[in-house]
Amino acid sequence: MHIPVSIRHEPTIPALKVDYETDMLRSKSEMLEKKMNIIVCIKQVPNTTDVQIDSETGRLKRDGVESIINPFDEYAIEEGVRIKERVDGRVIVVTMGPPQAETVLREAIAKGADEVVLVSDRAFGGADTLATSYTLSLAIKAIGSYDIIICGKQASDGDTAQVGPGIAEMLNIPHVAYVKKIESIDNKSIKVERMMEDGYDLIESQVPVLLTVVKEINDPRIASLKGKIIAKKAVVKILDAAAIGADIKKIGLNGSPTQVMKIFTPPQRAGGEKFTGEARDVAAALVKKLSDIGIV
């Protein structure tokens, strides 16, 4: 039977007509009904697959480098959405960054977030991990109540892993880092597996709690077409320094105890010796090298 293309696509359209303003208001009343509020903090980072070194200057080429959601934060968003699906709640994704960071927030909506908040102000510029933790903790307080806050283990540009625990400290709530699995969760407590170098620890924590998650925790879904359409229309709430009631001495460069003294490019690793030929000979030559330097 011949089905016209237009008809096949039609049924999905009406479902997309959602009023996001009232949707956001509804979230306030839901908070009162003890639905779980899940806040996910994400960061916009340069896509490192694109990072190239300029051969003439030896500097990082950043022109036209695509910005993406920090890879670890993909797992944070997915885990937030999974908790929502398990216990009924709302996922609010927050990022601090320049106005362009709106793009990654829309992506988060496409992947299942309900609300997004962009914390953006010129005064936040030059923030180190302490000032960032302070700013995000205020933004989270401004959003309202929260039960679970999820961050990726670390960002792929800074690699510090410091902002998650820093936020928890500023909010005076417990945190568990390197979470690889949530075993159980309710309004009062959560049981998680914390990845360690030699295995994993089983930790129970009070709620509210902040978790930083590793890749093993889940397999993030790909944004659906429907999600992408919702994302396009979604309202991005913007909070500036005044809106979160920030102390000007604690944000941005002024609020940062650490300062960058200099930035330089490490010497590039030069290629070494090549071995080709019969596997046996190649292997023997290498073992000889290893034996010379005392490895075998």
Partner: protein, 410 residues
């Protein structure tokens, strides 16, 4: 008042040095209509600029003006003295990185003309104090209590904060381990000071006594030297294996101090329920001197048995690229790279790993890289100290035979 940066149009020559130097891509070069395309002009994107000052240093024409607003509540730095090493223990054993911290901490303390202290937090852990003294600690603070038997952020943060507030070290060094990286940030936030993650080099500025902390950023593509100029203590987590372990000096003299702490402050909002050991590994990948790693080119789960065989006879550990983990040939705990672990072994043997940047950021600091790959043109083969072109299924068995015969003849 906030920070400001601007390009002085009359001084800018349009050379573009600043634009290529900017680590944040905040400077672009535009045409100046009045110069009929002859000279360009640097333009700042203030949304990207972090006021790091790299461009100011680069500009040969003093054409960039940076005004930093620093009404900082500076602490009285003279109240802080000495270097403190967090002597991390897990299951009653001191982490290897602690010995490296003691070695480097001693060097920094000597430069400062100050003493080196270590702090042990655990249960029934006092017996380890002499070991720390033998490795260079002048003082060991012991926080010994059943509440500290397993690592939990709340009590560990509370006790370390109390010790810092009482003893006031000017520098605190911690291992960039899961434990160190989990609670160092909490401690720094509580005492409101700077913390620099994953340092690979530390130096003292003789004049200011500032600690110059160098760390990789952007996956190791750039290095940044970070200061905590106006706050004390200066806190740093340090990657393992970048410094040598301290030599043992038997029966070295030192002071062991039972730190008296306030139990009232030790709130604990988490509960430790248990530890499940990863039995699949004989050698911990983070501690391994030799890592045999496999990638997409291994092609099948069985291939990892061959890698393990080689790792076992070398006394090393097995690593993997994301491709191999995603194919479920090997568990995630073995993954090296951007979404896995960063390792710094003496020898890294990459089998069938092409060397995409997401992988190499996790291993490019290895002393020796050996690549085994059919494709001689792939990135890993280009950066390798020794690049072996060929099939790993032919080369590895030959290597294993060869190593066995070499060790027999010893």
């Amino acid at each position: 008042m906030t920070n400001s940066i601007k390009v002085l149009n009359d001084k800018c020559s349009g050379c573009g040095m600043c634009a290529s130097a900017c680590p944040f891509g905040a400077i672009s070069m535009t045409e100046r209509p009045e110069h009929a395309k002859k000279f360009k002009l640097a333009v700042m994107d203030l949304n990207k600029c972090t006021y790091c000052g790299t461009c100011v240093q680069t500009c040969k024409f003093s054409a960039i003006e940076l005004k930093k607003d620093t009404p900082r509540s500076a602490v009285d730095k003279s109240l802080y003295n000495g270097v403190l090493v967090y002597a991390e223990q897990r299951h009653g054993e001191i982490a290897n990185v602690v010995y490296e911290l003691l070695n480097e901490g001693k060097r920094l303390a000597n430069k400062l003309g100050a003493s080196l202290a270590a702090v042990l937090i655990g249960d029934n852990i006092k017996s380890k104090s002499q070991d720390l003294i033998n490795r260079g600690a002048d003082k060991v603070y012991v926080c010994d209590d059943p509440v500290f038997i397993e690592f939990q952020d709340d009590p560990y943060t509370a006790i370390l904060t109390q010790l810092i507030e009482k003893e006031r070290p000017e520098i605190i060094l911690m291992g960039a381990t899961n434990i160190g990286r989990s609670f160092a940030s909490r401690v720094a936030a509580r005492i409101h000071t700077g913390l620099t993650a994953d340092c690979i080099s530390l130096e003292i500025d003789n004049e200011t006594r500032n600690l110059q902390q160098t760390r990789p950023a952007f996956g190791g593509n750039i290095m940044a030297t970070i200061l905590t100029p106006d706050h004390r203590p200066q806190m740093a987590t340090v990657r393992h294996k970048v410094f040598k372990g301290a030599k043992v000096e038997e029966r070295r003299k030192g002071e062991i101090i039972d730190f008296k702490f306030d139990f009232q402050t030790l709130i604990n909002r988490t509960k430790f329920l248990g530890f499940i050991k990863d039995t699949s590994v004989a050698v911990n990948i983070d501690d391994a001197d030799i890592i045999v790693a496999g990638g997409r080119g291994v092609g099948k789960a069985e291939g990892f048995k061959l890698l393990k065989e080689l790792a076992d006879i070398l006394g090393g550990a097995v690593g993997a690229s994301r491709a191999a983990v995603d194919s479920e040939w090997v568990p995630y705990s073995h993954q090296i790279g951007q979404t896995g672990k960063t390792v710094v072994p003496k020898v890294y043997i990459a089998c069938g790993i092409s060397g995409q940047i997401q992988h190499t950021v996790g291993m490019s600091s290895s002393d020796i890289i050996i690549a085994i790959n059919k494709d001689a043109s792939c990135s890993m083969m280009q950066i390798a100290t020794y690049a072996l072109e060929g099939d790993m299924y032919e080369i590895l068995p030959s290597m294993i035979r060869e190593i066995k015969s070499v060790s027999r003849s010893d």
